[in-house]
């Protein structure tokens, strides 16, 4: 009875892992289509978040369900933690640089609270810094 129940548990884990793998890969494809089709750096960053966080987490969950080893799952948690900590910082810096360099399509923005706050001479701040 117990052997049969563990076999079914392993089968269920394999099926869940397969579903997670397929969903993660499809999220990556959706994000790639979005990155190719969207008109702007900010909108492309919006679609870039999906494979970086949700798709990668789904695939790591699937990998943990397939391997079923505590040390390995610790390593996978480390990968997920690195990705969750670092991708908001990278997105913040990319969005900040693109907005301040004027590469944002301002006609597509719904709310723009940053242009009024930015100093007007910030284009010359690089020369002042040097």
């Amino acid at each position: 009875m117990s052997a049969a129940s563990t076999a079914t548990a392993a089968d269920v884990a394999d099926v869940v892992a397969a579903v997670c793998l397929v969903i993660g890969a499809l999220l990556t494809l959706i994000a790639a289509i979005g990155i190719l089709r969207f008109p702007d750096v900010l909108t492309r960053m919006h679609s870039a978040t999906k494979p970086q966080v949700l798709g990668l987490l789904l695939i790591l969950v699937a990998l943990g369900l397939r391997l079923r080893d505590p040390g390995t799952i610790g390593l996978l948690c480390l990968v997920a933690l690195f990705q969750l900590v670092t991708s908001p910082i990278a997105s913040h810096m990319v969005g900040r640089a693109s907005f301040r360099a004027g590469q944002v399509r301002r006609d597509l923005l719904v709310v723009d609270e940053l242009t009024d706050v930015l100093p007007h001479e910030q284009q010359h701040s690089t020369e002042r810094e040097n």
């Binding site: 394999d14 892992a17 397969a18 793998l21 397929v22 993660g24 890969a25 499809l26 990556t28 494809l29 994000a31 790639a32 289509i33 990155i35 190719l36 750096v41 492309r44 960053m45 870039a48 494979p51 970086q52 798709g55 990668l56 695939i59 790591l60 699937a62 990998l63 397939r66 391997l67 080893d69 390995t72 390593l75 996978l76 480390l78 990968v79 690195f82 990705q83 670092t86 991708s87 910082i89 990278a90 810096m93 990319v94 900040r96 640089a97 693109s98 907005f99 301040r100 360099a101 004027g102 590469q103 100093p119 910030q122 701040s125 690089t126 002042r128 810094e129």
Partner: protein, 92 residues
Amino acid sequence: MNAVLVVCVGVLGVAALLLVTRISMGPTMLDRVVALDVLVAVIICALALEAAVHRHTTTLSILVVLSLLGFVGSVSVARFSPGSDDVEAEGS
């Protein structure tokens, strides 16, 4: 599990092709950085997929390294692109 491998490799390959198209087209450097970041995520997903299907742990250390490498690359490019000055330098 083999059918899952074939489907996911096809989907990830199409996604990587679209991303390489955006990297080569991308009008600004930051577009390319965003697409490169996602390409690193696609590579992590592909390595994890292969490890999950074949049940081995040899590529797990590469996952840790890649998850930090994409961060370092995009942050350094965004930091040294024009317009990303320090807040202190702007205030003075």
